[in-house]
């Protein structure tokens, strides 16, 4: 039987949690058994969960605030620590990603460096040491981030959560604490505004 190496099947869930050897690359979503092991305190499983969540959080914060550098890195660290502490209480009612983004959303909002984040270094380019971007994607992605600065924070959040990070409207509503329809409406308006801004000769 061939073993598919899809992201979610990189682990053998047949192994006991304490003997799981994690052959995970960044971005792989932990299986329920690994998640369970991480909640029970297994250090390797915890690392694997964090490896999965770190890129999500860092990208989310970078795109949300349009910032890069130490303010974002510090905020991301705060979120990671919050996730480590809260993970035992996670109940798999929604996706792990949505749960982590909800925590991050709130942690970043309370973050002492929030002001630094908001007025911080603008993400005019993707730092080579942090992001991996293909040449073809770089320019349109940066254009989009520049155009997103004209959006209100609420519309920007809705757009990112639904369109970039693939959360359902329900999950996104849980992250920002509003209704599903509100999220859909904000995302739709955001896309309409971006369409105008990104047109040749547009606002951006």
């Amino acid at each position: 039987m061939s073993v598919s190496l899809a992201r979610s099947t990189l682990w053998s869930t047949k192994e006991p949690a304490d003997r799981i050897r994690l052959r995970m690359v960044a971005g792989a979503e932990p299986t329920p058994s690994v998640l369970e092991a991480a909640q029970a305190g297994d250090p390797e499983a915890l690392e694997a969960v964090l490896r999965y969540l770190h890129p999500v959080i860092l990208r989310f914060l970078s795109f949300k605030f349009g910032a890069a550098g130490s303010p974002v890195e510090d905020a991301c660290q705060d979120c990671m620590v919050e996730i480590i502490r809260s993970l035992p209480g996670y109940r798999s009612r929604g996706s792990l990603k949505a749960w982590a983004m909800k925590l991050s959303f709130r942690t970043a909002r309370r973050n002492r460096q929030r002001e630094a984040l908001e007025r911080g270094l603008s993400l005019d380019d993707f730092p080579e040491a942090v992001f991996s971007v293909t040449p073809g994607d770089r320019a349109p992605a940066l254009d989009l981030l520049r155009a997103m600065r004209s959006l209100t924070p609420k519309k920007r959040d809705a757009l990112l959560l639904v369109e970039v990070f693939g959360l359902t409207a329900k999950e996104a509503a849980g992250v920002v604490g509003t209704l599903e329809n509100t999220i859909r409406s904000r995302a739709r308006h955001a896309k309409e505004e971006l369409a105008v801004a990104l047109e040749p000769g547009g606002a951006s």
Binding site: E47, H54, R106, V130, D137, L198
Partner: protein, 398 residues
């Protein structure tokens, strides 16, 4: 918006493809794990929690040594001369001073509930809890203190609260809290809920009886007693509270004879009181109580009705004794049950406890869930107040 000319979709697709380098993630994960193992970033808070837990443990040690474990959660009931009933939680510590027209209770820690029976306008009862003084006659109220945090609940009559140079009259039903140096805040609450919360039925009701403590058992008023008429802050010097006071440390009160203030009598009075209190109209600024007729009221003889109350109080005692996580587990279980009174109260207590423990994210989650499941509850404003304090930019706070 997904047509061929749409410039947004290709840009979104490009943004989705931006990835974080694995080596960067690896380093960040290591850093987060190391940071998590390092001491708490707020050492002052950690120290304060440790000191509080240690102090509570020291206070509770004598009781552990002399009392059976099954009574450890039961509040003590004390009958003072002149028709004053005093109920004291475990781990609470207080001193009494009798000065003729004034009975003064100095609450150092924990919770005390007072029922002032009959028309006692000629005599004032003062409860001094840190920077807060509460004066009352002919009423039922409780005062709870943890450090500088004081909570006053009034379920019958009225009290007057003096704090930080200000005074405020509280008519039942009211909850008053002071959170450190912040301003006074009064949140309306349902009378029936508060009544349940203030006056706890002793767990060992059948075997316990209040003990009469006459004036001879109470020390004279200290010379430095502040004048009750003034609205100045009560003095807090150690000389004012230490000497000549009768310190009551929680003790079970048992007797063979059944007296006027026996627990069964209390229970009967409470049942009698419940009916009129349900029909009493709340003040105009108080939200209507959505649970005025809990099933328990219609079936007073059913035993299970008492269980949630005891569990709720036990969880609160656990929290006060520093067993926050155990208390949270018990409260979560109770909150998930469908009890009309105690489930929402347990839910709200969870929110408070998470907030006290510094678990802001959990507190916010719990507050959101509370507001979603009990939007019309009389205590919903308090849940929202905590939510907005922890997360001022929350959608519900704008």
């Amino acid at each position: 918006m997904s047509g061929d000319q749409d410039p947004v979709e290709p840009a979104l697709a490009a943004l989705r493809e931006v990835e974080v380098r694995p080596d960067h993630t690896e380093a960040a994960v290591r850093r987060a794990l190391l940071r998590n193992r390092s001491p708490d970033p707020s050492p002052r808070l950690r120290w304060a929690r440790f000191a509080l837990a240690a102090a509570l443990l020291l206070l509770a040690l004598p009781f552990f040594a002399t009392e059976p474990a099954d009574e450890s959660q039961a509040p003590a009931l004390v009958r003072l001369a002149g028709g004053v009933l005093l109920q004291q939680d475990q781990a609470s510590r207080l001193s009494l001073f009798d000065a003729g027209p004034t009975l003064r209770v100095e609450l150092e820690a924990g919770r005390v509930a007072l029922r002032l029976m009959g028309d006692r306008r000629e005599r004032v009862v003062q409860v001094v809890a840190g920077p807060v003084r509460v004066e009352a006659n002919g009423t039922v109220f409780s005062v709870e203190r943890e450090g500088d945090e004081v909570e006053v609940l009034v379920t019958e009559g009225a009290v007057k609260v003096f704090s930080r140079g200000e005074s405020l009259g509280l008519e039942a039903p009211r909850r008053w809290t002071v959170d450190g140096p912040t301003a006074l805040s009064v949140a309306p609450a349902g009378l029936a809920l508060l009544a349940e919360e203030v006056w706890v039925e002793p767990l060992q009701a059948e075997s316990s009886q209040p003990e009469a403590i006459g004036p001879e058992a109470i020390g004279p008023e200290p010379e430095t007693e502040p004048k009750p008429e003034t609205e100045a802050e009560p003095e807090q010097g150690p000389e004012a509270s230490a000497k000549q006071a009768t310190s009551i440390k929680r003790a079970p009160h048992r007797a063979q004879a059944s007296g006027e203030a026996s627990p069964s009598g209390l229970r009967a009075r409470r049942r009698n009181r419940r009916a009129p209190s349900e029909s009493r109209s709340l003040p105009t600024d108080a939200a209507p109580d959505p649970t005025p007729n809990p099933p328990r009221a219609s079936t007073p003889s059913e035993e299970p009705a008492a269980a949630p109350q005891a569990r709720y109080q036990a969880a609160r005692s656990q929290a006060r004794a520093g067993q926050g996580q155990a208390a949270l587990r018990a409260l979560r279980t109770l909150a998930q049950e469908a009890h009309p009174i105690w489930s929402p109260l347990a839910h709200l207590e969870r929110i408070r406890l998470h907030a006290q423990l510094g678990e802001a994210a959990q507190a916010v989650d719990a507050a959101e869930a509370f507001l979603q499941s009990h939007p019309e509850h009389p205590l919903a404003p308090e849940a929202q107040s905590i939510l907005c304090r922890l997360d001022p930019e929350h959608e519900d706070c704008s």
